[in-house]
Each structure stands twice: as C-alpha cells, then as structure tokens.
Point group: none
Chain length 198, copies 4
DNA sequence: TATGAATGAGTTTTCATTCAT
DNA sequence: CATGAATGAAAACTCATTCAT
C-alpha cells in the first residue's frame, strides 16, 4: 500500500525542517565553512545522502536559511512604513525585537546568519542590497521623519540606523555565545539615543 | 658567515608580523575555517611552509591573534578601575573606542576575532573567562557605582554592560562588512542609555 | 532502500581487510614512515579517503596491526604455561613457529612489524611491556624449569630467552628481505643451544 | 690569519664524524624515512645547512653509513677465508662478534642499518649482492669444509649460514630496542647448532 | 524515501633542499 | 666554514558529493 502524495509531502517537509533547524543552529555558531554536512546530518538525525534530496549543496542550504532571515527582516518593512508616529513605531519595533530575542534562540541565530553572510562578502550580494538599502533606507527615513516632528532626538539619522542594527547584531551574537549568562536589555535602553524621554 | 642573532630575530619578527597582519584581516572576515593557509601565506607574501616555522598550525595563529585581542581588551581595565567619576570614565571609554574604531580597521578586526572565537565555543575557554568575568564584572561595578552616585541612569547594571559590549561587537562587524558605507556613531549615542543628560 | 546493517558490516569488513593486508605487507618492508597512505590505498585497491573511514590516521592502522601481532604472540602463552615437559614444549614451539614461517609471509611480516614498533620506541609502550615482560618471563621460567629437571642445557635462562626471540625476529627479517633465497632452519638448529641431544 | 689546510681538514672531519654518529644512531632506530635532516643536525649539534656541505642528500648520508657497515662486514672475509680449522674460525668469529656487541651500540647500529637497507629493497642492490653472495658463500663454504672434516655438526650449510646471520641481525635489533635489558648470549649458545661439543 | 560506502579534489602539514648573509 | 630563513613539492588528512542498493 503506497503512501499518498500528501504523506510523502509531509515526510519531506518534516525532514526538511529538521535539516533547516540543524543547519541554522550549526551555521550560526560555526559559520558556513566551519560546519560539515556530516554534522548537520547527524544533528538532524538523517544520513548525508538524504541531505542532497533536499538541497543540492551545502551552500544551497545556507542560502536558503539566509533568505529566510532576509524575508523575516522584510516583515519589518510594513511596520517601518506605517504612518504612525515614529517614536511609537520604534518603541513597538524594539519591544517586538527584544521579545523575539527573549523567546528563543531562533531569531538570534537568523540574525547571526546574516552577519556570517555579510562577512563572507562574496556570495549573494543581492541580499546585502535588500537588507541594507531597503531596510536601512526605511529606518533612516523613519528617523528623519521623527526628528522633524520633534518626536526623536537629534543626530545623524543614518548613524542612528547603523547603531540600531549594529546593536541588534551584537546582541544576537552575545546571546548565542553567552547562552544563559545573556540577558536582554530593556527596549528603553535600546532606544535611549533615539526616543526622547517623556 | 652567519647573521647575528639579532639579525635573525629581526627577520623572524618581520615575517611574523606579515603573517599576523594577513591572518587578522582574513580571519576577521571569513573566520577560522573560512580562511585557508594558502590565502594567508599569499596575502602575507610568503610560502605556506614558512607559516609553519612561526605557528604550528592554523589554529595556533588564530589563537595567537585572539590572545592579542584579549590582552588589548585588558588594557581597558585600568581605565575601568580608576577612581574617577563613572560618567567621566564611560565618556572617556566610549570616546576612546569610537576613536579607535574610526582610525583603522584593526580594532574592529580584533573585536570581530573575539566574536568568532566566542561563537566557536570550544577552544580557549580561558579567554572567555578573562574577557567576560573580568571585564564584564568591572564594567558592571563601575555602572553600579555611578548609579549610586546619581551619576548614571537607572537600570540593571549587568544588562547595561551586556548592551555596551554587544553594541561594540556589532559595530565592529558592521564596520568590516559595510566598509566605506559605515559611519561611527557619536560616543553620546553609544552611552545614551547610561549617562544622564546634563 | 538502504542495505541492512549486516550488509554494511560486511562491506566495511571486506574493505578493512584489504587495508590491513596492504598495510601489513608495506609496513613490514618499509616501516611506518617509509610507507605512504597513497601506497597502501593503491595496494588495497581503494581511494585514500576511504582509508580514513576505517582508521583515523596512518599510525592508527599501524598500531592496529601491531596489536594484532601482539595478540597473536599471546597465543603462545598457553603453550609456554602448559605443564608438559619443557623440552617437549620448546620442540613443539619451534616446530610450530618454523612451520608458520614456511607457510606464508604473514607471520614473518607480523614479527617484523613488532620489530619496527620496538625500534620506534615511543608509541604504544604497553605492547613492549606485554610482549617483553609477559612472554619473556614465561619463556625464562620454562627454561629454568627445564634446566632444573635436567631436561635442558645449562646457561643463563634470560640470555637463552633473548637469543630465542632475537633469532626469531632475525629470521623473519631475512625471510622478507631474501624472499625466495630464504630457507627456514630446521627446528633442531633453532633449539640446539637449549635442548639436550638424545 | 686564515687557518691552514690541515686545520680546515680537521674541522671538516670532526663535523663529518658528528653527522655520521648522529645519523647512525637515528637511522638505525627510526629508519631512513623516519629520520629528518633536522633531527640529525640537531643531534649532531650543527645546522641543517652544514649537513649539505658534507652530504649532498639525506640518502647520501644513509648510503655512506650503509657502505661503512658493508665494509666492516667484509673485514670478516679474511677470517672466513683463512685456512684454519673451521670450528676454530667460527669460535673466533662469534667470540669477536659478541665482544663487539657488548662493547658499544655501534656494531649493533650498523647491523640494523643493513637490515633497514635490505628491507627497503630498491636502492643499493649492489650491497645486497656483496653482503649476501660474498659473505654468505664464504660462510657456507667454511661450514661445508668443517662438516667434511668432521669438525662441525651435520645440516644444510646454507641453512646454517642463514640462521647465523639472522641471529646476528636479530640480536642487534634486540640490543637497540631493549637497551639495558639486553644481555648478550655466550658465543657457545650462538654456535651450538654448528660446533660439536667436545 | 533513505542509507552509508566510496571517491577525489582541496586543504593542511611536513620536510628535504637551497641560498643570502 | 656556518647559519637558519625560505621554498615548494610531496605527504597526510578532510569533506562535499555521488551512487549502488
């Protein structure tokens, strides 16, 4: 009695998730080159051969994960582009991010993955463009808008954007390396240089 | 007629510096595993064999560089432990760090190297201890002192310490990956959540 | 559909035997350092990479073979420790050994392997202890017992033991280096200094 | 004030002896491939470069030492070819050899060197011919002569020759590997299968 | 779908040899 | 004569990928 299409699909999907999970965990800590297919397969509880039925290469898996990270980042766009008061948006943003960060390692792992990808420099330059140009521009614009409204503190908006994302990346790495010695800062600390105190 | 001991020492030292320089540059960008000995040797303008007359393995070079980074970090200790007013110390610290960061890539590279080492997790756990326990403790104590003097803003001192070092690491990585699109934040932004505005 | 555990086990075992065979042959002639992994792999009809799925290093294979040799040597213990008449035991022993020696190269190769290992000196000192202390002691005791029974010729028993094993090692090497110009001595010659003529 | 020719000659000779000594010691234990030029130089207390002013390659040194060993072996020829009574010659031979063996490690080292050379198989086949054909033949003839005189025990003369040289090689190796746990057998034991007891 | 044996190209590492001083 | 830095080719070892089952 052969399985139905759906059953196969479900098995595939389950396996793929295990691979992605293992890959995310390992890549975020040890990078693309520091992680072997064998490690990923073992960690995912499958054979190396099976890996190649889901991804045509190690880099393919890596890129898939980086893309997921990028897409998650893009989810922030709608928030950044909303017409609400900038300080409220930023508050909501940092609240949300710190909440994510507290919840599980996953968000931090994705963030660190982006870092790895950026530092490698060569491959997938499109993502860098997406990530930077789009997200950075939107954030910079938001800050500029907030400043002209008198909502936000003065200072170079691009500098502020850079500081914000740098801090985020830095926190993600700290979380992964310090493990349980890590504590998330309050979102107020995170935005102290941005939002005026009331 | 052989050269004198001093001449040999000088030759060795010159070569070693070229290796360290190339290693720092490459490791900080591509990590331990992403960098090949061949790349380092080529970048240093020497043969691969010569590498091994200075370091017994690739990891040995990596660890040497990480140790240098740690020791540089320890140079901050005297500043953190001075009896001056905490807010002044922190101001001086962030001024100094941002100045370093602006001057050249080297500081950022060393910082990122530490990150790589921390993320790898396994080797050289002593450094983690040095780096964390000592530096973090001193910073935390400084903040605590500043708060009780009414000098600094309220908030969990350990959280603040973590945020500070996270930001630093994050900025270093951004600097290396964004290259000339990177701009350093002002030291006021860096310490906005710490130092009371006057 | 993957193979069964047993099928895999059989494949592994077959390959391992080919490696061991090639290793024994080459190591016994050219020593640990004189033999390259490439040679072993070629001689075994496999790729170099496959070697490392069975042994984690060249030395690992070498030690495995030496251990086999040692264990084979230990098989003599029961004979040496039997309560039979010492002269009969020694006769049986040298008959057996010369027969082994005549049959194939393998015994000689294992013996020479032990020599190589002993001469290297450093690694696997336990074997030396096993091999020497245990086997030598038992042989010495046997000779002592035979002498007090008036069964064997007089002379320092330890000296006799050493001579016996030295001769064995020497014959093994001669067999391997002279190839078909080698002829085994009769077991009477081998024990002439031990067993009284009747 | 430049040195005289003789002084230079003396220095050269002294250095060469140190090299030969170190080489003999190391090669006999670890073989040609197991010994590095660096080790030899260090052990001889000189630089690697100086090695090459005396020998054009590592093999050159090895062969030089093997040749010395061969020539020393040839010194036995006159003894083997003398017209004396074969049993007396053999007695004198084994007495002499055991005395050499007791005196220092050098003889044993040269003997083991020959073994290494023989086992390598390829290079310097001439020596094998010299060593075997000549020495073995002479020994075999001597034994044959002794047997026909009724001087020596019966048995295949070639077998006896082989046993004699095998034992010698084996003892040399034992001496080098057992170090101070080694004791030389009496020359009577060594020739028990050859010489009739009186 | 799933397995792990097998490959081979690439990486790390070693070391005999050269050479400027 | 003497040194040890430097090279480069060869050896040891790793690992992404393929493939028969």
């Amino acid at each position: 009695m052969p399985r139905t299409k759906e059953q196969y699909e479900q098995i595939r999907s389950k396996t793929k998730n295990k691979i992605r999970s293992a890959g995310l965990q390992l890549f975020s800590h040890k990078g693309l080159n520091g992680t072997s297919i064998q490690e990923i397969a073992t960690s995912a509880g499958i054979s190396t051969g099976l890996m190649y039925r889901h991804y045509k290469s190690k880099e393919d898996l890596f890129n898939d994960l980086v893309n997921t990270a990028i897409h998650a980042g893009k989810a922030l766009e709608s928030l950044l582009n909303s017409d609400d008061c900038p300080s409220a948006i930023l508050k909501q943003l940092s609240d949300g991010l710190m909440h994510e960060m507290n919840k599980s390692d996953e968000s931090a792992q994705y963030l660190v993955l982006i870092t790895h990808s950026l530092m490698l420099g060569d491959l997938e330059q499109e993502m860098v463009e997406s990530y930077n140009s789009v997200l950075f521009d939107q954030m910079t614009n938001l800050i500029r808008r907030g400043q002209s409204r008198g909502d936000l503190k003065p200072g170079d908006p691009y500098q502020m954007t850079l500081l914000f994302f740098s801090t985020l990346q830095g926190l993600a790495m700290m979380k992964l390396s310090l493990i349980d010695r890590f504590v998330c800062p309050s979102s107020e600390m995170l935005t102290a240089y941005l939002i005026k105190e009331s």
